[in-house]
C-alpha cells in the first residue's frame, strides 16, 4: 500500500468523477472586485514564511506549491489589474530565531511593499504579534492561537487574522454537536488524548470545560498526552477510559488520530468509544494512515471519526472553487502527497490577499499609497466568499478569526461511489498496483456552516 500510489489513484478518481476536468480550463471561481486603477508594470508581492522543514512540515509544505501555482495562474491571466504577482517566501524550520531574522529582512528590504504577510505557525504569530502591530503590517494565518490573535490576556485584538476558528472554539462547537445528538453520544463524557505543546493543548482549558459542562457534556480535567514518536499509547487511552470518557478528542494530526483509533480497535472498544478532533484530523493523511488497522466490520479504524471542517474539502466536487483548485493541482502536475488541506486553503489565502489589495487600491488610488493601516481597514470591512465559497472571509467587530464551522465525519466510499460504505462487503477497494488495496476516504459534513461559541474568556 504505497501512499503515493494511493493518492495518485485518488486524484485519478476525482478526475474521473469530474467531467468538467476533461474540458477546457475552468474560469476563476471567485467574484473579485473590479479594478478601478490600472497597475500595469507594477508588482504585487505575496509574502509568506513559516515552518517548511520542522515538525509540522508535512502539513505546511504544500503552501509553497499552492502560492507558486496561484502566482503562475494570475501572471498567465493578465495579472492583478495588470500588475505582476510575485511570491516572496522563507523557510523558518520551526525555529523562532529564523522567524525573527526572516521578519527583520522582509520588513527592511520591503519596507514599502510589505503590508500583508501570510504566516502558518502559531509560534511565529506569537513572536511577531507586537512587531506586526508596531510596524502596522496585517497578517493572515490559518489557525492562530489565542495568544497570537488576542495577546496574553486574550482580550487585545492585534494585526493577525485567522481564517479558521480558534481550536478552543472548535472544541466548544463539537460539544454543541454532542449535546444536540444524544442518539449518537449517549451520556457523553469527553476525554482529551492529545499531543504535547502549544498546538496539542490549545483545544482544552477551564473555559472550554465549563462551557461543555454547562451543555451537559462533562470534560475530564486531566488531558492524556502522547508523543508523535510513541508506538504504544494503550496506557493513555485506558487512563482516559478508566476516568469515564466515552468520547476521545484529539488536537493532533497525521499518525496521531490514526494511533488512537487503532488502539481503540485493539481494545475492542471502537463501537463504544467515539473519536473526534480538530480540523486537521479530517485530512486525507489520517484517512490513509488509519487503514493499518481494520475494525470488526472490515473498515479502517478511523471510520466514523468526527472533526471540524471550517472550509470545503476536495471531495465536495459540486463546488466551483474545489473544481478549480483540483484542475490547477492536476495542471501543475503536483505530487499527489501535496493534495491536502494546506494546498486547498492556500489558494484561498492568495485569493483573499488579491481581493483585499484590489479593494484597497481602489480606495487609495495607487499601489504605492497602500499602507498596512489601509489594508487593515479593508480586511476588517470585507465580507467575502473566498474563491467563490471555499470559506467565508468575514471579520466580526473586535474578532480576529473565522467564526463559521461545520462538524464532519470521516467515512469510506462504497463500491458505487454513491455514499459511505457500511462494511467491507460494499466498500470500494482500489488496487494500489503493488499487490495491496486501499479504501477511499470521504469527509461527510454533518452540519451546515454555523457560528462557533466564543470561549477565549
Amino acid at each position: 500500500m504505497n501512499r503515493f500510489i494511493i493518492l495518485c489513484a485518488l486524484v485519478l478518481l476525482l478526475g474521473a468523477a469530474l467531467p468538467a476536468l476533461a474540458q477546457d480550463m475552468l474560469p476563476y471561481p471567485s467574484d473579485l472586485t473590479e479594478c478601478e486603477v490600472d497597475l500595469s508594470g507594477e508588482t504585487v508581492n505575496i509574502f509568506h514564511f513559516g515552518d517548511l522543514s520542522g515538525p509540522y512540515a508535512f502539513i505546511t509544505q504544500p503552501i509553497v506549491s499552492a502560492v507558486s501555482d496561484a502566482v503562475l495562474y494570475w501572471n498567465s491571466h493578465g495579472g492583478v489589474c495588470g500588475a505582476e504577482l510575485a511570491q516572496v517566501y522563507e523557510d523558518t524550520g520551526g525555529n523562532l530565531e529564523a522567524t525573527q531574522s526572516a521578519y527583520d529582512r522582509f520588513s527592511s528590504e520591503y519596507a514599502e511593499e510589505l503590508d500583508l504577510l501570510l504566516l502558518y505557525g502559531s509560534g511565529d504569530g506569537e513572536l511577531l504579534r507586537e512587531q506586526l502591530a508596531a510596524d502596522e503590517i496585517v497578517s493572515f494565518i490559518s489557525a492562530g492561537s489565542i495568544e497570537s490573535l488576542y495577546g496574553e490576556d486574550g482580550q487585545t485584538p492585534g494585526w493577525l487574522y485567522a481564517s479558521n476558528p480558534l481550536y478552543i472554539n472548535q472544541f466548544g462547537f463539537f460539544c454543541q454537536f454532542v449535546a444536540a445528538n444524544p442518539e449518537i453520544f449517549p451520556d457523553p463524557v469527553i476525554g482529551f488524548v492529545t499531543w504535547p505543546g502549544a498546538f496539542g493543548m490549545a483545544g482544552t482549558g477551564p473555559a472550554a470545560r465549563d462551557y461543555c459542562g454547562g451543555l451537559g457534556v462533562p470534560v475530564l480535567a486531566e488531558p492524556q498526552i502522547f508523543l508523535p514518536t510513541d508506538s504504544d499509547i494503550l496506557t493513555q487511552v485506558q487512563n482516559a477510559i478508566d476516568s469515564g470518557a466515552n468520547i476521545l478528542y484529539s488536537n493532533s494530526l497525521a499518525s496521531g488520530p490514526a494511533l488512537i483509533a487503532s488502539t481503540l480497535v485493539d481494545l475492542g472498544m471502537d463501537e463504544d468509544i467515539k473519536l473526534a478532533g480538530v480540523n486537521w484530523v479530517m485530512d486525507t493523511t489520517v484517512g490513509l494512515l488509519g487503514q493499518r488497522v481494520l475494525k470488526a466490520n472490515g473498515l479502517p479504524s478511523v471510520d466514523g471519526m468526527f472533526g471540524s471542517m471550517p472550509y470545503l474539502w476536495w471531495t465536495e466536487r459540486d463546488n466551483a472553487a474545489v473544481q478549480f483548485v483540483t484542475q490547477q493541482f492536476n495542471a501543475n502536475k503536483r505530487s499527489p502527497a501535496e493534495q491536502n488541506i494546506a494546498y486547498l486553503v492556500s489558494w484561498g489565502a492568495v485569493d483573499s490577499i488579491i481581493e483585499a489589495t484590489i479593494r484597497t487600491v481602489n480606495r487609495v488610488g495607487s499601489l504605492s499609497a497602500v499602507t498596512g493601516a489601509e489594508m487593515r481597514e479593508t480586511v476588517e470591512s470585507m465580507d467575502y466568499a473566498v474563491l467563490g465559497g471555499l470559506y467565508q472571509h468575514k471579520i466580526e467587530d473586535g474578532m480576529r478569526e473565522g467564526t463559521l464551522n461545520r462538524i464532519a465525519v470521516m467515512k469510506f466510499a462504497n463500491a458505487t461511489m454513491s455514499g459511505p460504505a457500511t462494511g467491507a462487503e460494499d466498500a470500494l477497494l482500489i488496487d494500489d498496483g503493488a499487490g495491496g488495496k486501499f479504501f477511499l476516504p470521504l469527509v461527510l459534513p454533518l452540519t451546515e456552516f454555523m457560528p462557533v461559541p466564543q470561549l477565549r474568556g
Partner: protein, 394 residues
C-alpha cells in the same frame, strides 16, 4: 563524626539506598493503589514490549561505543535513513534498476576498500566488487512485487552498509588521533547532514510502511486478547502482535551480537580494539576494518529499529527522536554492555509506561522519569548496571 561516616561508609550507603528504594515503593504503592490489576499488568507488558525496540536502538549505540569509544548521537538519523531506504524498496512497485545498481556498486566499492582505496587496484578485489554488486542488484530487483520483502531487506542491508561505511570512512576515520570529544561532536554533525539528506530524498511527508499486515485480511495483526484472565484481573489485557514480533526480532539481534562478540574472531578483534586500539594494531589486528565493521553493524541495527518503529507508527522524521529517549537506557545498562543495553531498554520502557500510568497529563513518563533515572544512575552508579567499572579519579 566524620570518622564514623568514613568507617561505615559502605553500610551507610546501603542504608541510604534501601531508604530510597522503600520511599519509591511507598510512592508507587500509593499511586497504584486505586488501579486495577489488569492495568498494572498491561502497563508492565507494554513497557517490556516497547522497551524491546529501545533495547535494539541502545544496542546500536553500544556496538559503536564498544569498538571505538564514541557515543553516536547520529543513531536516530541512521534509523530514519534505514527505514526510508527499506520503504523505497518495499512500497515502490517498479524499482529503478539504475538506482539499485548504483546503490549496490557504491556499497561494494566502499566495503571492499575499507582497509584502503589502493585495494581496488587488485584484480581479485575488482572481481569481488563486480560480483557482489551484480548479486546485490539482482536481489534488490529480481522478480515482481511478490518478492518485495527480499528487495526491501537486501536494499536496506546495502543502504545500511553504505551509510555506516561512508560515515566511518569520510567523517570518523579522518579524526583518528583526535580526542574522543571531537568524534562525539562529529556524530552530531553527521546527524545534521543525514537530516538534510533524508529531507531532500524523501521529503517531510509521513509515509505508510505496512509491514505488520496480515496478508489474508489486509489489516494489521489482531492483538491477542487475554479473555481468560478478564475475571481474575478485573479487566482486559491485550498483547499487540507487532510489538511481540519487534521484541522477538530485537531478542534475535541481541543473541546474534552476543554470539558474534564472544565466539567469532571479528567479534573478539572488536573487543580487543575497544580495549586498546594501539595494542590491537600492534598484535596485527586491522583496526580500520574493525571500526568500519562496527559502524556498518550499528547502521544495520539502526535500520532494523527504524523499520520496526516505522511499521508501528508510520515513517517520518520524528523517528529520530526515539534515540533521545534511548540515551538513558544506554547509560542505565552500561555503555559497554550488550545485555545491559537490552535490559536498560526494557527498564526504561517500563519506567516510561508506569510514569504515564501515574500521570500522563504532565508527560512524567516520557519527559521526566527516564532523565531522572539517568541522573540517579550518574550519581549512584555511573558505570550502569552491567558496565565495566573503571578505576578513574574524578
Amino acid at each position: 563524626m566524620l570518622e564514623i561516616i568514613k568507617k561505615y561508609e559502605a553500610q551507610l550507603r546501603w542504608a541510604l539506598y534501601a531508604l530510597g528504594a522503600a520511599l519509591l515503593l511507598l510512592f508507587l504503592a500509593d499511586q497504584l493503589a486505586g488501579k486495577k490489576a489488569a492495568r498494572i499488568l498491561q502497563t508492565l507488558l507494554s513497557g517490556i514490549l516497547v522497551g524491546g525496540v529501545y533495547g535494539l536502538v541502545a544496542l546500536g549505540i553500544v556496538v559503536i561505543n564498544k569498538a571505538s569509544g564514541v557515543f553516536n548521537f547520529a543513531h536516530g538519523w541512521m534509523m530514519v535513513v534505514g527505514g526510508m531506504i527499506f520503504w523505497s524498496f518495499f512500497s515502490v512497485s517498479e524499482i529503478s534498476l539504475l538506482g539499485a545498481a548504483l546503490l549496490a556498486t557504491a556499497t561494494m566499492l566502499l566495503a571492499m576498500s575499507t582497509a584502503s582505496f589502493s585495494r581496488l587496484r587488485q584484480r581479485r578485489t575488482q572481481l569481488l566488487v563486480l560480483g557482489g554488486s551484480l548479486l546485490l542488484t539482482a536481489l534488490m530487483t529480481a522478480g515482481g512485487s511478490d518478492w518485495r520483502w527480499l528487495h526491501a531487506l537486501s536494499g536496506a542491508f546495502a543502504g545500511a552498509m553504505l551509510t555506516g561505511l561512508a560515515v566511518e570512512r569520510f567523517a570518523i576515520r579522518p579524526l583518528i588521533g583526535q580526542p574522543l570529544f571531537t568524534a562525539v561532536l562529529m556524530t552530531l554533525a553527521i546527524a545534521e547532514v543525514l537530516h538534510g539528506v533524508t529531507q531532500i530524498a524523501w521529503g517531510t511527508v509521513e509515509l505508510n510502511l505496512p509491514i505488520f499486515v496480515n496478508p489474508a485480511t489486509g489489516s494489521r495483526f489482531q492483538p491477542i486478547r487475554l479473555e481468560g484472565l478478564r475475571e481474575l484481573l478485573d479487566g482486559l489485557v491485550i498483547v499487540r502482535v507487532e510489538l511481540v514480533i519487534a521484541f522477538v526480532l530485537a531478542l534475535v539481534a541481541f543473541s546474534g551480537f552476543i554470539i558474534f562478540f564472544r565466539y567469532t574472531s571479528v567479534g573478539l578483534a572488536m573487543r580487543a580494539t575497544a580495549e586498546d586500539q594501539q595494542l590491537a594494531q600492534a598484535v596485527g589486528l586491522r583496526v580500520r576494518v574493525i571500526l568500519a565493521i562496527s559502524w556498518a553493524a550499528a547502521a544495520f541495527l539502526a535500520s532494523i529499529a527504524g523499520v520496526l518503529q516505522g511499521g508501528a507508527v508510520g515513517l517520518s522524521l520524528n523517528i529520530s527522536l526515539v534515540a533521545l529517549r534511548v540515551f538513558p537506557a544506554v547509560l542505565l545498562g552500561g555503555l559497554e554492555s550488550i545485555s545491559g543495553a537490552f535490559i536498560g531498554g526494557i527498564l526504561i520502557g517500563i519506567v516510561e509506561q508506569f510514569g504515564t500510568l501515574i500521570n500522563s497529563s504532565q508527560q512524567v513518563g516520557t519527559n521526566l522519569a527516564p532523565y531522572l533515572v539517568l541522573m540517579l544512575v550518574l550519581v549512584l552508579k555511573p558505570e550502569g548496571l552491567f558496565g565495566e567499572k573503571r578505576i578513574e579519579r574524578v
